[in-house]
């Protein structure tokens, strides 16, 4: 996948994770990499930039095991940014699906339609 495109998606995912609750760094990375094929070296730079831009703040909290963890908390600015990003993502991906679905919703349907077309052109 195009790196630029991937970064935009990961940015939205990081924001979305923190909209749910405050999390520590590894937790965010783990949650995202469970669903998407991205690793730490993609997620962490984005997390850090969003923090620098004031979308997140951080605080230290003791964990019951081991040392204190650094938690990330979304700010009001960050939340507004998420809403904006989410909105443009929804309308973008919605548009993409409208285009794709014109060819059929599932692979079987697409294939069936395609075969039909080929048959038609042959009989002509």
């Amino acid at each position: 996948m195009n790196a630029q495109f991937k970064r935009g998606i990961v940015e939205l995912c990081v924001l979305s994770e923190l909209v749910q609750e405050d999390m520590y760094g590894y937790q965010i990375i783990n949650n995202i990499s469970q669903h998407l094929d991205v690793n730490e070296n993609t997620i962490y730079p984005i997390l850090r930039r969003l923090t620098k831009e004031g979308y997140f703040t951080t605080y230290l909290k003791e964990s019951n095991v081991g040392a204190a963890r650094k938690y990330y908390k979304i700010t009001e600015n960050g939340f507004n940014y998420y809403l904006k990003l989410r909105d443009s993502w929804d309308s973008f991906i919605g548009g993409v699906y409208e285009i794709l679905n014109k060819g059929g919703k599932k692979n079987e349907e697409i294939l069936r339609r395609f075969e039909e077309r080929i048959r038609k052109t042959k009989t002509k």
């Binding site: 990375i29 070296n41 962490y44 850090r48």
Partner: protein, 321 residues
Amino acid sequence: MKKYLEDLKKELEKLKLNSNEIAEILEDHEEMIKEAKKEGVSDKELVSKFGDPKKLASDLKSELGEEKEEATQNTNDYVLYKSFPVMDSVEEVQIKLVSDDVVYEQGDMDAIEVYYKNIKDIEDYDISFNKGTFTLKKDKKVKSLIFNISFSSKSGSFVVKVPKDTSLNQFTLNTVSGDSKAINVFADNVKIATTSGDTYLRHITGSKVEISTVSGDGNISFIKTDNLYLNAVSGDFCVSEGKIDGDVTLNNVSGDFTVSKLESDKFTLSTVSGDLNAKEFYPTEINLKSVSGDITITNEDKLRPIVIGKKKTLSGSIKIK
């Protein structure tokens, strides 16, 4: 884990991120790796989860956009006065101007290029490159100062582009009532004096940097030097992102100083009524001499010690938060 952190540190240092930034990034990674191990992630899995430290470092650099190069001056509406081919090197740059704006920066050519616009008599200027010394100077003999000021409706401006990676012995910039901008100045000695124009400096590196301004505002970022002397009479001055290996001396009468992300040795502020507001400012020692000026520093790292040295003030105070 140790190796990963060491490699990451090396890569980050290679990319010249600032030391606070590097320390924080390493801390974050140490924590994350520990968490991963606690959850039973094996060393092998760890490598694939965390990926290549080299890629991480370069991604961090591009994401954080630190030290992002400033777009070079657009010279479309300028006239190229002359291009001086540079055979050996440029040793010295001397710019002395009255009522004209000037931009100094590095270009892509192996030559010093001088552009100008709204300059009435370009012949009245001494523009030369001789034995490693580049000069751009208003020739005072030709016209008196008063004549010039009263007749120039639009202020003229110059753009001087030197070859990439030019490293000088001496950089001197003197301007009166014009704005000055200098980007990527590398010189042993940097001396900048401006009167009533604004001064914008970015990426200034030198063993000794002296800046003095009278009544104009100043902005300086990414400064690296052993000693910084800054004199501002009444303008405001903003200093951000820098590492001063030695002492910093700031003098002014009534302007305010804003400092952010600066590390230095001994820091001295002499002022009558100007204040200094700083964020992430880590000098080893602070000295204040003022009538009513205050120093306020807000730092995230509370543990880094800042010694309060001499304090001679009537009503000013030093606050470190």
